[in-house]
């Protein structure tokens, strides 16, 4: 196997697994709190720190190789509705992966995201935000698949809770869905490299990629504080069973990438504390190109607006009274 297809596969794996791992937050809309999700971004703006997010999986390369990523993300509100976040990941690729098939280590490209909350409807627990995510090319290690060029991803985010269902469907009111749709635009349309096996110049076309995904979640905190208190132990009242989907579909400039959708379906649980959240999910590849076997992802997420309410945890400008997470009782 030449290094070139391996590098292509690594890039695809990086897009598939890393780009979406570092951007997470939580959002309050009326009685609903949308928790931080692990593989897609939630629809809101907040002051938070995700450290660490750790994932283990087997890539979609041929042969498939094991990879472990440790990532972080720091999100800061500039105003109540506008925020910025920074994140990156440190990847370890096990042999026979890497450019020399001996494995590789290194940081992925640094990522920055700007997000603005466009619309919020507390009564119907609906929120809509727009943003742009920027992957800064050349800031990461090429050996682990980082790009040498920037990638810009304008993205639409939404969340909808079902607390407005009639009381006859009270059991369904804790359900909520979130989603995101982005369009990843590489800063350069193609890159060339000399194939070490043949000496030929290979040209790789960098596709524009639809980055999309969603989550279906059932909030036990919402059930307890808004529908019915079943008297369950506190641990269960803080759980949110969740299924996330994180997918990518190349849609143009696909001469060398193909158009196959890749990604994972991630069932798991979130545990929501007063000032932190812990999440763990399985990562099930949607096809062979997305990986082999079932991976896992886990995250410790800190609510900076709770930990530092009068300093780091409030917007730099504007309203200093923070809207809270209303439905998380003990």
């Amino acid at each position: 196997m030449s290094a070139f297809p391996l590098r292509v596969a690594l890039c695809a794996a990086a897009v598939a697994f890393v780009c979406c791992d570092t951007a997470n937050a939580h959002e309050i809309v009326g009685n609903r709190s949308f928790p931080a999700t692990l593989t897609i971004d939630d629809p809101g703006v907040a002051d938070e720190l995700a450290l660490p997010t750790v994932s283990w999986y087997k890539t979609g390369d041929d042969p498939s190789v094991r990879q472990r990523d440790i990532s972080f993300e720091f999100a800061k509100r500039i105003t109540e509705d506008f925020g910025v976040s920074f994140g990156s990941a440190y990847s370890r690729i096990y042999a026979p992966g890497g450019p020399n098939m001996n494995g590789a280590n290194g940081f992925q490209d640094l990522e920055t995201a700007l997000k603005y909350r466009l619309y919020k409807n507390p009564e119907h627990e609906f929120v809509l935000s727009v943003g742009v995510e920027i992957e800064w090319g050349g800031t990461g290690a090429r050996d682990v698949g980082s790009e040498a060029f920037n990638v810009y991803t304008p993205t639409l985010y939404f969340g909808k809770g079902f607390g407005d269902l009639p009381s006859s469907l009270g059991w369904a009111r804790p359900f909520a869905i979130t989603g995101q749709v982005g369009y990843a635009i590489p800063g350069v349309s193609s890159t060339s490299a000399i194939d070490p096996d043949t000496g030929d110049i290979d040209t790789e076309y960098n596709p524009r990629v639809l980055v999309w995904g969603g989550s279906l979640q059932y909030s036990m905190p919402y059930l307890k504080s808004s529908v019915v208190d079943l008297g369950l132990p506190d641990f269960f009242n803080r759980l949110i069973p969740i299924v996330e989907a994180s997918l990518q579909t190349p849609v143009s400039n696909t001469a060398t990438s193909g158009t196959v959708t890749t990604g994972t379906i991630n069932p798991g649980f979130l545990y929501v504390g007063q000032t932190y959240q812990i999440g763990i999910e399985a990562m099930i590849p949607v096809n062979r190109q997305s990986g082999t076997g079932v991976g896992a992802i886990a995250q410790l997420h800190l609510f900076l607006d709770d930990i530092f309410p009068n300093s780091l945890g409030k917007p730099l400008f504007g309203n200093s009274i923070a809207a809270g997470r209303p439905k998380f009782g003990n």
């Binding site: 504390g273 000032t275 607006d305 930990i307 923070a322 809270g324 209303p326």
Partner: protein
């Protein structure tokens, strides 16, 4: 060692700072059915509350306000008296401001009668 450090960090978090005032429990309980009409609603939160910016309102199915007067706040607890309630479903609507200036809100129902 790393596991211990992380575990110690997480364990320290809840006590490391103030946080949002969350509904801990309610009397009458959320979603419960009461054979006899309660005389007050008592809500307990996870943080101390600011009395001036915290309230409870209880409404009947027809929308009539059946809570009586302003809610009284004492540390983490807030209570409001109720008028004489007949059989039916009642909605408790609460809004609070915790002492660290985080706002929270919520609502739930309870039933009176068989």
């Amino acid at each position: 060692m790393k596991t211990f450090i992380v575990a110690a960090f997480v364990a320290a978090l809840p006590s490391a700072a103030l946080a949002h005032a969350m509904l801990d429990h309610a009397m009458p309980p959320v979603g419960s059915s009461q054979n006899t009409a309660p005389r007050e609603v008592v809500l307990s939160f996870t943080e101390d509350l600011e009395p001036a910016f915290s309230s409870i309102e209880v409404r009947s199915e027809a929308g009539a306000v059946v809570s009586s007067g302003k809610a009284k706040v004492q540390h983490t607890q807030m209570r409001v008296p109720l008028k004489a309630l007949g059989a039916g479903t009642y909605k408790v609507i609460w809004r609070v401001l915790s002492v660290d200036t985080h706002r929270t809100q919520g609502d739930f129902t309870f039933k009176v009668g068989p």
